[in-house]
Symmetry: C2
Subunit: 257 residues, 2 copies
């Protein structure tokens, strides 16, 4: 049985609590949060505190606070005997100023009010000692089928990739949604296409799956699209992404007789 | 029973043939292609020809050729009695120089060798007369559950949206795939995250679903990401998409106390 204290009351903390709390192999002994009102959501299910001095003993302290707060909060955890692991994709292990340091990074996007299937989430772990790595691996395997030991040199590019495939992709959806609203078209029309975009990845590399006017260097269609976009920033995004696609596929284009 | 001749042997033509050929309500009577070798793939299943003069009579001629070839090919179809419909998202109906003009645009990305479920593909139709619209609607409903009558003023922005959510999204996947290859990380690690990005759209608008450093205006993380990107074009894409996300969510950021 692994005992865990969760520090934080935001989206990552909440999703971790919901995933860990039902597990037989894990006991969430306490949730810590600065804000008494944010702790209210946890009070009926677990002990809570807003005082660092009242943290209970635990094997692992999961520090699910914002990246910029990790160093500051961890300064106050330097006397803890347990392993302190932050949950950030982009911060190095050394950000922690604790006795025992770890990283427990679930590679996923968490939204308030929407549950996720933790079993399928890759958990990226890092620690300084063999024992601490094993402890984090045990916790990871209790909640997910995929646990990877990755140090910061691998975790940082992975986090960058996560921004590309999730945050930026979602922003393109948002621009499309705006266009649909202006044109009074239902955004749902695009869902089968979006679904197929993802499904292709099971069979093809993204490079193989690329289609559209930019890959054919179809200047007329691209020009028509740019003039349809009303915001200069969206026009710039269109031109830049098209140029990038064109450059990747230029060699293939030259091979077409 | 609707009789159909397919003109073209590329990806769209092939997928249309595969979708229409098994239907009871439709007979594909012929496939036309300029290239005799490309027609070989169809020969065992349907009559083929590479001579416009030998086109068989049919209710509908589906013109699945590249956008830039539509006008030219259609010039040679001006004596046909049947309805000629192109399959392009971005070309107006008037591109056709035929007696009866139509559009039959399946909103999907087609890849050689990967089958798609046509039932879920929105089919966008347009024609000049009520009778021709009904004919295209019948053909659409024979193959798909979703048929929409959209003229060029709606179809053009929809096609632009398709480029945003499919072509550009796929290119972001490709940049991530490149990073993974350089870092010796499996791209598959990102698939659950990509899956969740799409799943969120069932519950939230893309604007509501937005997460990441740009929406928080987390300059430190964004700066770290940009320095990790080795290609100037990728850096520019990162900065531009982040700026665009920031601008959309700036008002929300200001509301956070």
């Amino acid at each position: 049985m692994i005992s865990v204290v969760i520090l934080g009351t935001g989206k990552v903390a909440t999703h971790l609590f919901l995933a860990l709390e039902p597990l037989k192999a894990v006991t969430v002994v306490q949730v810590y949060g600065r804000s008494v009102s944010a702790l209210k959501a946890f009070e009926s299910k677990v002990a809570t505190t807003s005082a660092i001095s009242q943290l209970l003993p635990a094997d692992i302290y999961l520090l699910a606070v914002s990246d910029n707060a990790i160093a500051d909060v961890s300064k106050n955890l330097s006397t803890l005997k347990g392993l302190v692991a932050h949950t950030s994709g982009s911060m190095p292990l050394e950000t922690l100023e604790t006795h025992r340091k770890g990283v427990f990074y679930p590679l996923q996007t968490f939204t308030k009010g929407k549950s996720v299937d933790f079993e399928r989430i890759p958990i990226c772990i890092e620690a300084e000692t063999f024992e601490d790595k094993e402890l984090l691996r045990q916790l990871g395997l209790a909640v997910s089928k995929q646990v990877y030991e990755l140090d910061a040199t691998k975790r940082a590019p992975l986090h960058l990739c996560a921004v590309l495939v999730n945050n930026f992709t979602n922003h393109l959806f948002q621009i499309a949604d705006e266009i649909c609203q202006v044109q009074n078209l239902p955004f749902e029309l695009l869902l089968p296409l979006i679904g197929e975009t993802i499904e292709k990845l099971q069979f093809l590399t993204p490079k193989e799956a690329q289609t559209g006017p930019a890959v054919r260097n179809d200047q007329q269609t691209m020009q028509r699209h740019v003039t349809q976009l009303t915001q200069p920033l969206h026009q710039a995004i269109y031109l830049l992404l098209s140029e990038s696609i064109k450059q990747v596929h230029e060699k293939e284009l030259q091979r077409i007789p």
